[in-house]
Amino acid sequence: MARKAVSALFFDRYPPYPTALRRQCRLHANDSGGAKRGYGLRYDAAIIGAGAEGLAAAILLGRAGLRVLVIERGSHAGGRLVTREFHPGFRASPFVDDIAEIPPRLFWSLDLARHGAIVAPPRVSRAVWQDRRHEIKFGENAEAAALLAVSARRRAEIAARVDSAAKTAPSRPLFLRRDPERWPAEDWATATLDGVLASAPLAPDAAAHLAALALSQSIADPFLEGSALHLLAAGASGHRLAGGPARLGEALLLAAQSAGAEFSFGLEASDIHRRNGRITGVGLADGSEIAAQTVISTLDLKRTFLTFFAWNALPPPLVRGVNAFRMAGSTARVLFAVARRLAEDGPIHVAPSLSRLSEAFQAWRAGVAAAHLPVTLNVVSARDPRLAPPSFSVVTATMGAIPFRLFDGAWTHEKREQLRHRATEALEFVWPGAGGSVVASDVVAPPDIEEAFAATDGDLLGGEIAGDQMLGAGPWSELGPDRVLPRTPVAGLYLAGSHLAAGAFATCAAGAAAAHALLADRARGWLR
């Protein structure tokens, strides 16, 4: 124990210490293994989850000289950025085809280009209806460009605001009035999507296409107030990656390793230990404990607070706020191996009308998959030919408005078959005859997404996109101004999941914000 105290003192006093010494310590810690893991070494930060956000946080913290351990329950890093062979010779990412934009400055500060990640903005998006089609060329289409530009600017402003709030450790004004909370997209948080589109100078087709873009990953009734906030998603996603999503995962992992982060694979974090209001470590599923001063959780808000803490360990208002946080998992995916060469770049939205989207929302709330679902088709092999054998292609169908909890019970085999059938219909609708040349297919239902990522309700955006959840301070805004996301009411615990606007519409931004908040608090001496 004495040795530990001395070494901790030493390292706290003299960071950053020589790399060679650091390597040695780590080697020693890893070799000790098992229940003794971490003995004699306390990590400055434990990061739960080795997805894009966790790795981004690890890179930033590691580079700042902190001892970082990334805890991942799976056998490899990358989170949703994986590519899987779903049929011999055919590969695709089961969960996402393309990612939301990485803010440019963050992309360069993470040093991703050197490790082989190349991200390109989306080029084109198509929408298809029964009798007509519409195409938006990003950067060229003057009609939709105005609204898309507004959306992009607001996204950037929100991300910048979240990051700057994280970097400046909040002062605690006891008697001062709080600054008015003005968020860049505030007017969208109380407007209807239908109304915003109607008041913009848009042709009906372009408006419907923008609605399909806005609601391609999430679910809302376009006639309800607050649904305009989904416009933030229009044009946010669709950033293409050279070599597919897996390549970005590799680049992040390499960068994290070269920044000096350590990894623990195969064991799930089970609880966060606290003593005297301070975090002391993370308990793993095998009963061992990793000593750590701070924890960054990349899981969603519900999962973090409801699984890592005993039910009576947190103050009741916090638990109530977390319980009331709304998740809105609504996507399912079908991966197709098609014996045909398809070469269309960019997503194709098989888009229902606004009133159909409204009906789909109502059905989704009732636990029913509606008669008309929004489906987005992506020929992933057209972007990356290595994913399919020559003269074959891989097409993914992302279906919206799929409830996580069905009104009539679990996601059985028959219901998954129905999903497959409906996705095939959409495929057939866009490329007549392609439905017959499907070699193999794979269904990813919402429960699969929940299981794969521990994402509550299979919601990859980390919560319902609503003004009261995604803008502002999160569910504990009432507890005080010094606890604003990514900070939490638990001192030393930071959230890096995509639970706030910055995370839902930008990759790596939530992880970076959490890392910046942690560093700012350390610099203030709050965590010593």
Binding site: P180, T190, D468, E478
Partner: protein, 486 residues
Amino acid sequence: MSAPYDAVVIGAGVNGLAAASYLAMAGKRVVVLDRREAPGGLSETAHALYALDPSVVRELKLARRGLRFAVRDMPLVGLRNDGKHLLLSRDAYASARSVAVHSQNDAKAWTGFRRDWFTLARAMRALWWHAGRKDADLAIHDARVTHFARMGASAWLDSWFESDAVKATLGFDANALSPLAAGSAMLLVWRAAQEMCGLQGAVAFPRGGLGAAIDAFASTARIAGVETHTGSAVSNILLGRDGAVRGVVLLSGDVVEAPLVLSSLSRRRSLSFASVRATLDFGEAAALAHAHAGVQTARVTLELDREPQIVGSAVPARGRFIVAERLESLAHAHAAAQTGRLPQELTLEVILPAAADPTLASPGCHLVSVLITPLPAQIDGGWRGAKALLAAKVVAALSRHMPGLSAHLVGVDVLTPDDVRESYDADDAFGGAVDARRLLADWRSRVRTPVPGLILCGAAVDPVGAVSGRGGRVAACFAFERETQR
């Protein structure tokens, strides 16, 4: 009518009469013009007093003009299909006991929720109707207020309660928006901010019905020296060469000159007068074109030859009964209304006026007054054809709670959204669609129009959807402020 006036008020509703009374009491010569034959306007379609402003009652001395209350505080009763009716009265512990029938957890949460709800509502009053007070501008900057403005009623109620009974009964009061829409939590707060008879969030029933309350306003105006001309519809607003208001043109061709026009029509209708529309710039004209009407309401009055008996657990006859089984039924009704269909499950508010004030009905005759909302503005085949269907659906929905209702039915009176539009020159009771941004707007921006001298004084100023008189008061405040600035 040729005498020069200081102000013309369009519409002799409660707000118009209140605004005219305030101006007349300050020594102005005011004329009120109404297209209908009797004063009252949309207030005639209301069936209880939800939000009469206490300062209006005091300042206009309405009590001296005969405003009395038969019931000062009608308890909120949720009629449930299973017969376990929910009774939410001012007695927090009795209410909690009634809630406990549905859920123990909700009963525990009830007092905390009520305290939270009422406290926030009191804080919001400063913003909403203390026109001219400095702290009105401060309240809007509170973080909690903005948080609420972006929240749906469903999200808020879900965070406190688990039983449908409590959520649906409370959620009905946020019915100007779907409970899923952002900002509907603010409408619940708005409801609790009202003060009736000195009681927060109360609903009162005036002695002699709503007509008596309107008479009190009319006689106040008369005694203050306001001229009221009924049966004279305004066809246009007269603008001077400098763009300022000079008076109004009547449908008969007469011109009434005045430098100030107060309109109790909605913002859309006030700005749609031909002369006004010509002066709007592009942005304002576009906003006008996209303005849509608020939630639509219908009234059905049933006349019975026997006192209506409510089956199930005992409830007071002087209550305000809500028929909405779940919050989802409200959301579905809104979605149906959006697409122009009659909702599968009607959500109703029921009052028994004869039980509240026995003088209202002749002996042996009993009344059931039903408010149905939300409804579509237009319906397939027109509202004229759907009238009977609506009445039948209402009777069917009520028969579950009042068995034998149809056997004792003597008369039915239906007022559809179409009737409201045609006879009252209004799209809805709220003066336009209600949303959070409108609720949080500065009071001056609600009153003001782009035309100098044209002021709004109706429901558009105070989107409460009920008889309040506050719109008139705020408009008069604005007019005085404008005068002193000159």
